[in-house]
C-alpha cells in the first residue's frame, strides 16, 4: 500500500498513483497529496493501475477530494483501472461524477 504523487514536466498534470490497497488507511496521505495542488488549475489523474483493492472508504475519499478541489483543477480523471476496480466505480455510479477512462 502506497501513494505517489507527481507533477508532469509542464505542471499541467498532477498524478496521484495508488498502489496495492486503497482504503481508509490512506485517508491522511490522500488528503495531503491533493492539498498541494497549487493554483495552476492542473488536470488531476488518479492512476489506479496498481490498485488491487478498493472499498467504500476510498469512494468517500474520492468524493471528498472532488468537493474540496472544486474549480481549482480543470478536471479529475480516474485512470487505468483494473476491470474489477472499474466495476466498483461503475456500480457506485462514479462515472457520472468523474471521468473514468
Amino acid at each position: 500500500m502506497s501513494l505517489n504523487k507527481n507533477f508532469s514536466s509542464d505542471g499541467k498534470l498532477f498524478t496521484i498513483q495508488i498502489k496495492g490497497k486503497f482504503d481508509f488507511n490512506l485517508v491522511q496521505a490522500f488528503r495531503s497529496a491533493y492539498s498541494e495542488i497549487g493554483d495552476k488549475t492542473p488536470k488531476v489523474i488518479i492512476d489506479l493501475r496498481e490498485t488491487d483493492y478498493m472499498d467504500s472508504s476510498a469512494l468517500g475519499m474520492l468524493l471528498n477530494m472532488k468537493k474540496s478541489l472544486g474549480d481549482s483543477v480543470s478536471s479529475i480523471q480516474i485512470a487505468n483501472c483494473r476491470p474489477q476496480i472499474k466495476k466498483i466505480l461503475q456500480i457506485s455510479r462514479f462515472d457520472k461524477k468523474f471521468d473514468i477512462d
Binding site: S8, S9, Q17, R31, M61, I91
Partner: protein, 568 residues
C-alpha cells in the same frame, strides 16, 4: 595441425622428389641437392611418382618429360590433383627446346624448367625460388585455416547470440493495424530496439530505444532492457517507473560511454490518452488523420543509463489524442542518413512523406531513405515506428479451473488482534489459496473489507456514521475510530469461509461480539452523494447473496467463483 605447418616451412631443407628413368640423371640431381642438405627421393617413372606421392610428401617435384609407363605430361596433372591447398612446384627436367613441348609442359601444370645438362647454380636458384613461393603459399594456407577457424567460431557464437536475442526481444504480439514499424540494423545485430507489450489493464506499452554505436556491442544492452520492459509492462506499471528501472539497470551495466536514448509510451486502452517518458531520441510527432503535425514530442530527459538513480527524473508527458491520430517515432539513423553530398535526410523529408498522402506508411519513408542514400553503405541502425492511436481491448480471459475439495477457514480475533492488525488482506489471501478464487481478489476484498469494518466500527467500537457526510465529518470519523480502537479492551470477531466445490461458492460469515444493529435501519445503498452508506449497496451488487442474523451481529455472504469477476 598448425604446429605441423609451422615446423615445416621454417625448415630450410626440403623433401625433393626426382622422377627420371635415367639413373644417371637421378644420381646427379641427388648428389647436387644433397650437397645443399635437401632430402632426395628418386623414382623412375610417372606412375611411381603418382603412387608414392602421398608417402613421400615432397616439397618440390623434378619431373622428366619422356619416361616409360607414364610420361611427365601425364603424371604432372595427376600429381597436382593430389595437392590442393598449398602450392607444389613441379619443375620439368628437359632437354627439349622446341616451343610446342615447353608450352605443353606449362599446360599440364608445370611451373618451371631445368634443362640438361644441369647447372648447379641455376638448379639451386630455382629450388630456392620455388621453395620460397611454396613457403608463402603454406603461410597463407595456414592463415586461411586460422581465419576459417575463427570465422566459424565467430559465426557459431553469433548464431547462439542471435538465437538468444530473437527469443529475448520478440514477444508474439501481433497488432499490425496499430503498429507499423521498420528496423534495419547496420550490421548483424541491432543497437536499436523496438518493444511492444500489452498492458494487463488494456492498452499497449511501446518502447523505441537506440544504444550508442551499433553492432553486437550496442545490441548487448537490449537483452536486459527487453526483459525488464516486458516484465514491468506485464505488471501494468507506469512509463516513469519503467524508465527508472531501466535507467538504474543500464547505469550499472553499461560502460561509461554507452547509453540508450529511448522513448517509452503507454497508449491506454481507449487509444485516446498517451503517457510518455522521452529521453534523448529525436523529436517524435503526433500526426493527424492527413499526416499534419499536431504536436511535437520533444525529448525531456537524458538518455537511459547516464544518470545515477538519485539524479534520474521520471517525469512524463501526458496528452490526449484522437483515434485517427498517429504517433511517429524514429532514431537518428533515419534523419542522419546521408547522400553522396553528405547532406542529411532530415526530419523535414520524413514529415513531408507522412503528410504527402493519407495512406503514407513507414515503408514509404524507408524507401525514400534508401533512394536518398543510394549506394552509400548504411552507417547506423535505422528504426522508425508509426503507432495508430486505436483502442486495444483486453487480452482474452484464460480458461479457469476450480478446486474440487471442500474447505473451511476460520479466524478468531480477540480485541488485542483487532487493535493491532488490519487483517482483511490476510483473509483475502487465505481465500485466494482456493484454486479459482484468485481472479476475484478485488471483489473479495471489497466484500470482506466492508463486512469487517462494519462489524468492527459499529458492532464492536459502537461508532456512528452520522456526520460522515461532510468532509470534516469524514476525517473526524476516522480519527474517532483510531481513538476508539486504541482504547479497545474487550470484544472479538470471528471470520469463516466455507468453500463448496459442487457450486463453486464460498460462504463467508463475519460475526462480532456487539449487540447487533436493527436491520431496518440499514444504510441507503444507492446513495450517490453521501460519503458513507455506499458500502452495503456495493456488497449487494457484487455478492451472490447477503443475509444477516436476527440481531444483526452476523453477516452471511455468498460469492460464486464461477462467474467472471467483472460481470455486472
Amino acid at each position: 595441425m598448425f604446429y605441423f605447418f609451422i615446423r615445416h616451412y621454417l625448415e630450410l631443407y626440403l623433401h625433393i622428389l626426382v622422377v627420371d628413368d635415367q639413373a644417371l640423371n637421378c644420381t646427379l640431381l641427388k648428389f647436387m641437392l644433397e650437397q645443399e642438405s635437401h632430402t632426395v627421393f628418386c623414382v623412375s617413372n610417372g606412375k611411381e611418382a603418382v603412387e608414392q606421392f602421398t608417402d613421400i610428401n615432397p616439397d618440390i617435384v623434378l619431373l622428366d618429360v619422356m619416361m616409360p609407363i607414364m610420361d611427365g605430361f601425364e603424371a604432372a596433372p595427376l600429381i597436382k590433383k593430389q595437392v590442393s591447398d598449398v602450392y607444389l612446384p613441379i619443375i620439368f627436367i628437359t632437354a627439349l627446346d622446341d616451343q610446342r613441348s615447353l608450352t605443353r609442359c606449362l599446360e599440364v601444370g608445370g611451373d618451371d624448367f631445368i634443362s640438361k645438362p644441369f647447372d648447379k647454380i641455376i638448379l639451386s636458384a630455382k629450388i630456392k625460388a620455388h621453395s620460397r613461393t611454396r613457403e608463402l603459399s603454406q603461410k597463407s594456407f595456414e592463415q586461411k585455416k586460422l581465419l576459417e577457424f575463427h570465422q566459424n567460431e565467430v559465426q557459431r557464437e553469433h548464431e547462439i547470440v542471435e538465437h538468444i536475442f530473437k527469443n529475448a526481444l520478440i514477444e508474439h504480439l501481433n497488432v499490425p493495424d496499430i503498429i507499423d514499424y521498420h528496423l534495419s540494423p547496420a550490421s548483424m545485430f541491432n543497437g536499436d530496439l523496438f518493444l511492444v507489450s500489452p498492458s494487463p489493464i488494456g492498452g499497449l506499452y511501446i518502447m523505441l530505444g537506440d544504444f550508442t554505436g551499433h553492432g553486437l556491442a550496442a545490441a548487448i544492452g537490449a537483452l536486459p532492457t527487453s526483459k525488464i520492459f516486458y516484465s514491468m509492462a506485464h505488471k501494468g506499471l507506469t512509463v516513469g517507473e519503467i524508465a527508472t528501472e531501466l535507467n538504474n539497470m543500464l547505469a550499472d551495466l553499461l560502460p561509461g560511454h554507452m547509453f540508450c536514448a529511448a522513448s517509452i509510451l503507454e497508449l491506454n486502452k481507449t487509444g485516446r490518452s498517451v503517457n510518455a517518458w522521452l529521453g534523448g531520441l529525436p523529436d517524435g510527432y503526433i500526426l493527424d488523420e492527413i499526416g499534419q503535425v499536431k504536436r511535437e514530442l520533444e525529448s525531456q530527459h537524458m538518455a537511459l543509463g547516464i544518470l545515477e538513480s538519485y539524479e534520474f527524473e521520471d517525469n512524463i508527458v501526458h496528452f490526449e489524442v484522437e483515434n485517427t491520430d498517429r504517433i511517429l517515432v524514429f532514431t537518428d539513423g533515419i534523419i542522419e542518413a546521408s547522400d553522396t553530398n553528405d547532406d542529411f535526410f532530415g526530419e523535414e523529408r520524413v514529415l513531408e512523406i507522412m503528410s504527402g498522402s493519407k495512406q503514407a506508411k513507414i515503408g514509404d519513408v524507408v524507401n525514400a531513405v534508401k533512394d536518398f542514400s543510394g549506394d552509400i553503405e548504411q552507417q547506423d541502425d535505422l528504426s522508425l515506428a508509426l503507432i495508430h492511436c486505436k483502442a486495444t481491448p483486453l487480452p482474452d480471459d484464460e480458461p479457469r479451473s476450480f478446486s474440487q475439495i471442500p474447505m473451511t477457514f476460520t479466524v478468531k480475533l480477540k480485541h488485542e488482534q483487532l487493535k493491532a492488525s488490519d487483517p482483511v488482506v490476510q483473509f483475502v489471501d487465505l481465500v485466494c489459496s482456493i484454486e479459482g478464487a484468485s481472479e476475484h481478489r478485488s471483489n473479495l476484498f471489497l466484500l470482506l473489507s466492508e463486512a469487517y469494518n462494519n462489524a468492527l466500527d459499529h458492532g464492536i467500537l459502537g461508532l456512528n456514521s452520522q456526520g460522515k457526510d461532510t468532509e470534516e465529518g469524514f476525517y473526524e470519523y476516522y480519527e474517532q475510530r483510531a481513538e476508539a480502537l486504541s482504547q479497545l479492551n474487550s470484544g472479538s470477531l470471528d471470520f469463516t469461509a466455507f468453500y463448496q466445490p459442487d457450486n463453486q461458492t464460498v460462504l463467508f460469515t463475519i460475526e462480532d461480539s456487539g449487540d447487533g444493529f436493527c436491520t431496518t435501519h440499514r444504510h441507503h445503498a444507492d446513495n450517490k452523494t453521501h460519503s458513507h452508506g455506499r458500502g452495503l449497496g456495493l456488497m449487494e451488487e457484487i455478492a451472490t447473496s447477503i443475509s444477516y442474523n436476527d440481531i444483526g451481529n452476523k453477516i452471511n455472504i455468498n460469492y460464486c467463483l464461477n462467474e467472471r469477476a467483472t460481470n455486472t
